[in-house]
Symmetry: C2
Subunit: 205 residues, 2 copies
């Protein structure tokens, strides 16, 4: 399946600003992007990065100036057959998790929800479905699928639901990540800080 | 499979104190417990609540004064065949998710990680494995399984990984919950608050 991977190349992961300098955010975001592209590829699909600026990654890159929703919908308009989408900030991604999402059935929209009501992945196999990433997009995409008569399949995956936006998410990458993003964090001096409740990260001085 | 469901009956869910009064925390915790027990039952397994005080739920209840780890290990000592464990605060639980965990293979320990390195579920089919819920228990349980020669199967489930401890977790219950816990929150006036980034909850005055 053709799988779009949108990537904010200019100033990514601003909510990690309390922990990472701008050049570190850029490097860490690229490590996650490369993990996502590799997982899509290893799962037997065809990744295609849609980025705001050129980026060095092992997949075709298209520069796109439109916002995310019209950029994706323009491609849905012109693609015959199923089209996939996966966000670029999945630091826990694996090919197995990707395979559970991109298993298309006719007239079905498969959705991988993200934390807090986002949409981290879609597999669109219905000709009339269009995306809208504004607002609580997981809920909106389920409604949009029903509105065009598409069945919805929700993929119950921790790895696909954990987009890495906030400092607490870095603990999940250290705990479960198997790729470049986890290695990047360890090389940058991050480790788990044990304490009461959920683990957070701390950084070597 | 026999499935233990530990339950803190006395003062549950203290980290939800900023949003819920003590009697509300008690009621919401019981709604989640009932969802977990029902999902285990619907998946064809035998739930057994291990509680710190009597609780009204549709399953056998044993009162237990020991801390969690020795309480579970005492039962591992005396159980022939596989033994399951599922935490009681899974407001997103479904029978399908439970079925993915409690699918035992010989000499395997299946683990469902929780947010921040916790252990939300275990299916123990190895005679020598014992639990230790202190610290980063997901990592420790993987090590303990390897130490006794048990294979480890990690269950990649958002529903099983989302234990409900912190205010942000309530948004996940509203978004994905299908049982009593989600209904309880709605009846108590909680709804999604849309905004930038991840959805949080707000409460009607």
């Amino acid at each position: 399946m053709r799988v779009l991977v949108p990537f904010e190349a200019t100033d990514p992961k601003t909510r990690l600003g309390p922990l990472l300098a701008p050049d570190e955010r850029a490097a860490f975001a690229r490590a996650m992007l490369r993990d996502v592209v590799a997982a899509v590829d290893d799962a037997g699909h065809d990744p295609e990065v849609v980025a705001t600026a050129p980026v060095d990654v092992d997949a075709p890159v298209t520069i796109e100036e439109r916002p995310l929703s019209p950029a994706v919908n323009a491609r849905l308009d012109t693609t015959d057959g199923p089209l996939g989408l996966l966000v670029a900030d999945l630091g826990l991604v694996t090919a197995d998790a990707v395979s559970r999402l991109f298993d298309p059935d006719d007239d079905v929209v498969a959705v991988a929800p993200g934390r807090g009501g986002g949409t981290n992945g879609l597999a669109v196999a219905h000709p009339e479905f269009r995306v809208d990433f504004h607002g609580v997009s997981y809920r909106d995409h389920r409604r949009a699928a029903r509105a065009v008569g598409a069945a919805v399949r929700v993929v119950d995956s921790m790895r696909l639901s954990t987009d890495v936006d906030e400092p607490a998410d870095l603990a999940e990458v250290l705990l479960h990540g198997e790729g470049r993003a986890a290695s990047w964090l360890r090389d940058a001096g991050f480790e788990l800080a044990e304490g009461e409740g959920r683990s957070r990260v701390e950084r070597e001085e």
